[in-house]
Structures are given as C-alpha cells and as structure tokens.
Symmetry: C2
Subunit: 132 residues, 2 copies
DNA sequence: GCCATTACTTACTTTTTTGTTAGTACCCTA
DNA sequence: TAGGGTACTAACAAAAAAGTAAGTAATGGC
C-alpha cells in the first residue's frame, strides 16, 4: 500500500498481469475495503466520518489509504470544504458509476456461488459420515 | 496464501468484508494470477504445463497455489490421469462459466477506464507545462 | 487559555502474499 | 543404469498489505 520497490519481480509481475484489461479492472477495486467503500457511496456523497461509521471495522488509517488510492485511480471524487472543523465529502465518479450495474451482477453471482459451495460442503460431510 | 493465524484482526476483517456478496465474489478471483488462469481456461481444458507456458511470468509454485485455491473454491475442476509422466487437466466449472459474460463487461470497462486515465494524465501534464 | 471536533499523519509491528531455489516421484527409453 | 518428461512440494526470503497506537492542525465555544 505504501512505497514499493520499483525493481522487484513482484512489481514487474504486477505490470505484466495488468496488461490484461480484466485483471487491471479488478486490481482497481482489489484493496481490502474498496468495494465496501464504493458500495456505501452508491447511494450518494458521504463524509469521511460517515464512511468510518458505516464500515465499523475499518481503522481511520485504512479508510484514508483506500480512499487516497481510489481517488488517485479516478474512482472517487474528494471535495474539501474550507471549514473548521474540516468537512470532506466523497462521491463516485462518472467512470465508477458505470460499474454499478456490473456490481449487481457480480453480487448475484457471489450469492449463488456461496449457495453452491454450501451444498457441496454439506454433501461432502454426509459422504464422510456414510463412509464411517 | 499458506497457513493463517486464525485469530488475527486481519482474519476477522476478512470474514467481515466477505459478508458482502460483491466483496466475497471479488475475493474469489483476487489472487494475483487467478483471472489470467481463468481467462486461459475460457477456451477449454488445459494441462498444467500449457498454463505455465501461456502465462510466461508465473512460477510453478504460484501456478500450483493459485490452481489449488481455485479448485478449493469450486472455480476450476482438476482431472488427474494415471499416466507416467503425469497428466493433469484443468477446466472451468459450471459456476465459474457463469462469470464469463461478466468478465467481458468488466474487461470493456477496464479498457475504458485506462483510456480515461490516460487523457486525464495528459491533460494534467499539459496544465503543468502551461503553469511554468 | 483550554477543550472539543474532524479528517487526517506518522512511526512502527504483524500478517499475508509473492518469489527463489532446489528438490521429489514415477516410469519409459536409450 | 542414466537421463528425460511432467506436475508438483518444501524450505526459505523478500515484498507488500493491513493493523496499532499515538499524534497533528485549525478554530469556535466555554
């Protein structure tokens, strides 16, 4: 998340894999908290503190880091109001808004996958019992 | 990738974030090489060595690890033929096949995002020059 | 002058992921 | 009987990501 050694194989491989548009796109939202943040912003602008309260397990540090990366990657827009105490609002950008319908599809698939795995694991457990 | 400390905040947070179906789904393909592997398998079955050759920067260890996870998560099916030298084939499963059309959408979005960022960066660079 | 509020930083530690190198098992062929 | 091919595995090191704890700045209200 922080500074990277620019010459590592790790970095080279990152560049290699993101030449694939699909992998590139998924990497943009790959940070642990990013999709959660983006989902919260689907319904409209939110302040830093509102995001923190809605994602109860996130630390301020992680929220800041993820938001900074999302901003750098054009996924959220950050607006600072020159007030004291400070007020900062975050919202989706034009390009990230285009992903919203796709998130719906993926989310449905995720639910289906979870169902499938549950059945699979149940079946395997029953097999184990029978074998005894 | 290997063993995890089961009680870390890190692990707790993993569980928390994957209660969201969208995050859950993206985590399934979140390993560095997973989407690349899945894309190669879109066109049909492939042997271990074929995958290794088609993804030229991957090590055998990483390929093995990613395939094992994909298999555990029901994303690929592994078939071993009892021959010498060994032959192992990998293919997409019913559930991962359902993602293929969505990958197309994401991929297109990724290309568009890349374009957008390129223009944005070019514009910013020009602004910097003007300001001098 | 002191405290509260908000949105962060900074320095550091822990955990996880990724990469490197050198094996292994198996049987077939030369 | 030595070497080749295939699909791995194991031990270790490096890098990156995530988490912890303790600040900071600015100003309005008490």
């Amino acid at each position: 998340m922080a500074k990277r050694k620019e010459t590592s194989t790790n970095t080279e491989n990152r560049n290699y894999i993101t030449s694939c548009d699909l992998t590139y796109a998924v990497c943009l939202v790959g940070g642990r908290w990013k999709l959660l943040i983006l989902c919260k912003l689907e319904k409209g602008k939110l302040r830093f503190g509102e995001l923190r309260n809605q994602i109860c397990n996130i630390t301020e540090r992680m929220l800041t880091l993820q938001l900074r990366e999302l901003e750098r990657d054009g996924m959220v827009k950050r607006t600072v109001y020159a007030e004291v105490p400070p007020r900062v609002e975050y919202e989706l950008t034009e390009i990230s808004l285009k992903l919203v319908p796709i998130w719906g599809l993926i989310s449905n698939w995720g639910a289906e996958h979870r169902e499938t795995m549950l059945q699979k694991n149940t079946a395997e457990a029953e097999n184990l019992i029978e074998q005894q």
